[in-house]
Structures are given as structure tokens and as C-alpha cells.
């Protein structure tokens, strides 16, 4: 079946602009995660959605970052007033259930470059 898909694959934006990154999880997966992969920082957890529960936003680096998940499926990560330090690969993952017992399947990522 189809895996996790993300769009766009690459995004170049000017400093100060807002960007939206999209994630389509695997059908039937109730848990969805966003991670950021940047040079020198490795992979960092950003936010987690489980079903209709309130998301775990504990990893968001600032209030410029937000995410929503509509209808328990597609998720959008929004970065407002982008800064150069936001340049990174943003990875989305989904799992069957939101426990560590279930494998997280990762998408190919969106490479964001802020100029």
C-alpha cells in the first residue's frame, strides 16, 4: 500500500514568509508525528497527534510553529515568519497507534531552505 507522503519535497522561501508543509499518513494510522532533521541537531521531535486527542506540542521550538490535523488524517505544519535557522528537512511519520510498540513509518521529508 501507499506509504507516508509529504509535499512539497523541496521548498525555498524568503526570510519572514510563512510556509505550510503537508503530510498524508498511511491510511488507518491514528498516530502522526512531525520531526525536524537539521545539521548539527540531528532528528528532533516536534509534535504528535493521536486520534482526536489534543496534540503533544512539547517539541515545537517556538510559537511560530503550529500544526493541525484535519479529520484525523492529513496534517499541515505551518511555520510563520520563517528564519534561516528553520532551514531543515521536516519529516512526518505515522503509526498504527500512538504507543512506542508500533513502528513509525516515515515519509521522504520536505527540505525547507530559508534564504
Amino acid at each position: 500500500g501507499a506509504g507516508v507522503s509529504q509535499s512539497p519535497s523541496n521548498k525555498v522561501t524568503e526570510k519572514g514568509k510563512d510556509v505550510e508543509l503537508r503530510c498524508d499518513p498511511i491510511s488507518g494510522h491514528t498516530a502522526l508525528y512531525w520531526y525536524r532533521q537539521s545539521l548539527g541537531q540531528g532528528l528532533e521531535f516536534l509534535i504528535y497527534f493521536q486520534g482526536n486527542s489534543a496534540p503533544d506540542k512539547s517539541g515545537l521550538p517556538s510559537d511560530r510553529f503550529s500544526a493541525e490535523r484535519t479529520g484525523g488524517s492529513v496534517s499541515t505544519l505551518t511555520i510563520q515568519r520563517t528564519q534561516q535557522e528553520d532551514s531543515a528537512v521536516y519529516l512526518c511519520a505515522s503509526s498504527l497507534d500512538g504507543t512506542s510498540l508500533y513502528e513509525q513509518y516515515f515519509g521522504p521529508g520536505t527540505r525547507l531552505t530559508v534564504t
Partner: protein, 114 residues
């Protein structure tokens, strides 16, 4: 808070040679441990995972890892490396007490010499 250390940033091995990638974790309870591989331009693919039971776990592509609680380690091994194994490898820890996020190590980039 949990953490993962992968001491080797880069490793180069010859094709056909054996491989061991090191992973040390810090976690206050029973850890769930994972190894992921990331090829250039690709997402992360799970190689293997440990939840409980046999401390030697087998994964895909001929990889295995051994959980050693006394050493807080979960090293990844392969007896004979293939050129296609060149990639970046990430160790991660999660668990019931970790909420629902994985904490990743910094990664080890593997290069394979012909």
C-alpha cells in the same frame, strides 16, 4: 529525560567486512529500542526493534542488534557489509514513560569501500 548517543559520526568499512555501529541510551525505565536507516534523499526505514524478550534481535537486510542492559547499549551489527549498505544509521529510544515520541541519536554515516 531520555537520550541516545552514537559515538561514531562516520565509519568506513570495506565491502565484505563486518560492521558494528555503537548506540548507548539513557532511559529511566524499560526502553524500547530501534535502529533506522536513511539512504540519501530517502526517509527513514526501520531495520529492527527491541521491546522485550530475546536480547539479540534480527532485522531486515541481514542486520542484528544486541540489547545489553548492564551497558545501556544496543549495538547494530552485520557480518558482511554490501556496498548498498552505505547510508546513515540512527538509533532511537522510546518507551511507555516517554510519551509517544522517539528520541534519536545523532546518526552514524557509513561509507563502504569497494
Amino acid at each position: 529525560a531520555q537520550s541516545v548517543t552514537q559515538p561514531d559520526i562516520h565509519i568506513t568499512v570495506s565491502e565484505g567486512a563486518s560492521l558494528e555501529l555503537r548506540c548507548n541510551y539513557s532511559y529511566g525505565a524499560t526502553p524500547y529500542l530501534f535502529w533506522y536507516v536513511q539512504s540519501p534523499g530517502q526517509g527513514l526505514q526501520l531495520l529492527l526493534k527491541y521491546f522485550s524478550g530475546d536480547t539479540l534481535v534480527q532485522g531486515i537486510k541481514g542486520f542484528e542488534a544486541e540489547f545489553k542492559r548492564s551497558q545501556s547499549s544496543f549495538n547494530l551489527r552485520k557480518p558482511s557489509v554490501h556496498w548498498s549498505d552505505a547510508a546513515e544509521y540512527f538509533c532511537a529510544v522510546g518507551g511507555k514513560d516517554a510519551g509517544n515520541m522517539l528520541t534519536f541519536g545523532g546518526g552514524t554515516r557509513l561509507m563502504v569501500k569497494p
